[in-house]
């Protein structure tokens, strides 16, 4: 691998980390609250609103069932509206986040739903307001599961980011396609795969560690 190629490679790693990191944060910031809304408006939830919950669930499912590659293309006008361009890593972050938010929200929703109803009742009996119940009971009790779910989300973001690379977003996927596939640079292809494996493993192990440490059950 030439020095120039090696620099490209380092850039690609950085771009991938940036894409995944930023879309991960956006996903956490929007998907987490979305999960709270999904679970608290569900039948029996503290903010029960059946119709709203069903409509929101349908929207989430619609995004969940659209293949990422199609979402990538379909969201082009929206991406341009938000970041002003449709190429580069910042443009990729938009479809990446929009695909990951409902994915993460559904996973987090399961963790929230597994919180024992008795705990919510105990909090109600203590005179907790509904927001206090969310913040003092639902979130801390569901946290280990949410951390594990967020780890899964990050890993799936890494693989989606490689796909986004294919449409000109930069990052490791882009590099692999341009050099590894189109110019038959097998070393680049192999290096990309090795680095991706390393990143995924690092993310997974960190996530597992925190999920384990947080779990007091």
């Amino acid at each position: 691998m030439s020095a120039a190629l090696f620099n490209l490679f380092l850039d690609a790693i950085w771009e991938t980390l940036l894409m995944v990191g930023v879309s991960g944060l956006v996903t956490l910031a929007l998907g987490g609250p979305l999960a709270v809304v999904l679970v608290t408006t569900a039948p029996g939830g503290v903010f029960e609103a059946k119709g709203f919950n069903r409509a929101l669930g349908a929207v989430v499912n619609a995004f969940r069932s659209t293949p990422f590659i199609i979402l990538l293309v379909a969201l082009i006008p929206f991406t341009r509206l938000i970041v002003g361009t449709t190429i580069g890593i910042w443009a990729a972050i938009v479809p990446l986040s929009i695909a990951a938010i409902p994915f993460f929200a559904r996973i987090a929703e399961v963790s929230f739903r597994e919180v024992d109803r008795g705990l919510i009742e105990a909090a109600q009996a203590m005179g907790a307001s509904r927001l206090q119940i969310i913040w003092n009971v639902l979130v801390p009790e569901a946290l280990p599961g949410i951390v594990a779910g967020f780890t899964i989300t990050l890993v799936s973001l890494i693989s989606s980011s490689a796909m986004a690379g294919a449409v000109g977003a930069g990052g490791l996927g882009d590099l692999a396609i341009r050099y590894g596939y189109q110019r038959f640079e097998t070393t680049v292809m192999v290096a990309v795969i090795v680095v991706l494996i390393a990143i995924v493993m690092a993310v997974q192990m960190t996530g597992d560690y925190f999920a384990y440490r947080l779990n007091k059950r």
Binding site: A123, A125, N136, P144
Partner: protein
């Protein structure tokens, strides 16, 4: 405080609840013709009907009934976890404020709930928080400062005997310790009323005793009102002042524990108290015949309900039955200072034809008595 017009509370039937403990801060709960129906896919389920009674300040009030009788539904109307579909539940705090639970706004209900602690069968502790944080949660919810919270938690943990578990997580505690944490948490804001829904049902008998002793102690020391639901008669017998029996959503019997337990009036109560009340030990049952024979002696079943004045007078019994009377079987218990139980006595000195006459004499004593048959063979 909502000082609603309902200050004239129904007097209820609490007259006999002899209380010695000072009721500085106990709340009063009045159920006024409370009904609760659930709409289910298979039609209406009537969980409570026409429930009306009053729990007095400082009292330990037991509610018993078989599974599905409506106990949980009833206790949950007190802190508004369940809303009655008819009638109302009035909670009066020690300062004389009266809340009509069903008509409170969300904010008023929150205030009321801060004056009512609740403990649960499955403890319902937050697994993600330490003992300290669990106990302090009600304080934090009410906006107490960290320092106040820490101070109060120290007191509470000392009260329930868990000072050394402060930094532990619930999973590191035994069932009894978890329930102590639950009790400490329920007491955090000095409630006037403590609701216990099957608080000891998940515990072994020994731990149950220690938890009951703790509840009694708290009741004595702090004077707070305790409403206790259980299907364990022993728990009620141990610590309650009065008891209500609920059957299919209706209160079928209510009174001081010694009275209800010593002389149950309703079949439902009898079924709960002594599922085997009319069963004799097998060997004895086999020897007792319904009719007298040449060498048989009548068997008298003598019942002490606890209503008699003084202790059971055995001398008087033997004066009537003759001094070679034999005790076949017997139980005697003291509840709230009343001796109650049942003696099975065979009286060879009483000839069969005089048995009814002797029975009449016996009944003047005043044990309640009957002849349950005749035992033959050597005594």
């Amino acid at each position: 405080m909502t000082n609603s017009a309902a200050t004239s509370l129904p007097a209820g039937d609490a007259g006999e609840a002899a209380r010695t403990a000072p009721a500085q801060r106990g709340g009063r709960v009045t159920f006024d013709d409370v009904g609760r129906t659930f709409e289910t896919p298979d039609g209406q389920v009537c969980a409570l009907r026409e429930v009306g009674f009053t729990v007095e300040p400082g009292e330990i009030f037991g509610i018993i009934g078989r599974s599905g009788a409506g106990k949980s539904t009833l206790i949950r109307t007190v802190n508004g976890l369940e809303r009655p579909t008819s009638g109302k539940v009035l909670v009066e705090d020690a300062r004389g404020g009266v809340f009509d639970v069903g008509s409170l706004t969300v904010n008023e209900l929150t205030l009321l709930r801060r004056d009512i602690g609740m403990i649960f069968q499955h403890f319902n502790l937050l697994s993600s928080k330490t003992v300290e944080r669990n106990v302090g949660l009600p304080l934090r919810l009410a906006g107490a400062s960290r320092a106040d919270e820490a101070r109060r938690v120290t007191e509470l943990l000392a009260l329930v005997g868990l000072s050394d578990k402060r930094g532990r997580y619930p999973r590191e505690l035994s069932g009894g310790q978890k329930q102590r944490v639950g009790i400490a948490r329920a007491l955090a804001r000095d409630p006037g009323i403590l609701l216990c829904d099957e608080a000891t049902s998940a515990l072994d008998p020994e731990t149950t005793l220690s938890i009951l002793a703790l509840l009694k102690d708290i009741n004595r020391r702090l004077g707070l009102t305790i409403i206790l639901i259980t299907h364990e008669m022993e728990a009620i017998r141990q610590i309650s002042d009065r008891v209500a029996v609920i059957e299919k959503g209706r209160i079928v019997e209510i009174g001081p524990v010694w009275k209800v337990f010593g002389d149950p009036q309703q079949p439902a109560t009898r079924a709960l108290l002594t599922p085997h009340a009319n069963e004799l030990p097998d060997d004895l049952a086999g020897r007792i015949a319904p009719l007298p024979s040449s060498d048989s002696a009548p068997v008298f079943d003598i019942i002490y309900t606890g209503a008699e004045t003084g202790e059971p007078n055995l001398g008087a019994v033997f004066d009537v039955l003759g001094h070679d009377a034999r005790l076949l079987h017997g139980t005697l218990d003291r509840i709230q200072g009343h001796a109650q139980g049942r003696l099975l006595v065979a009286a060879p000195a009483v000839p069969a034809h005089e048995a009814t006459h002797v029975l009449a004499l016996l009944k003047k004593l005043p044990p309640r008595a009957e002849i349950i048959g005749y035992v033959s063979g050597s005594l």
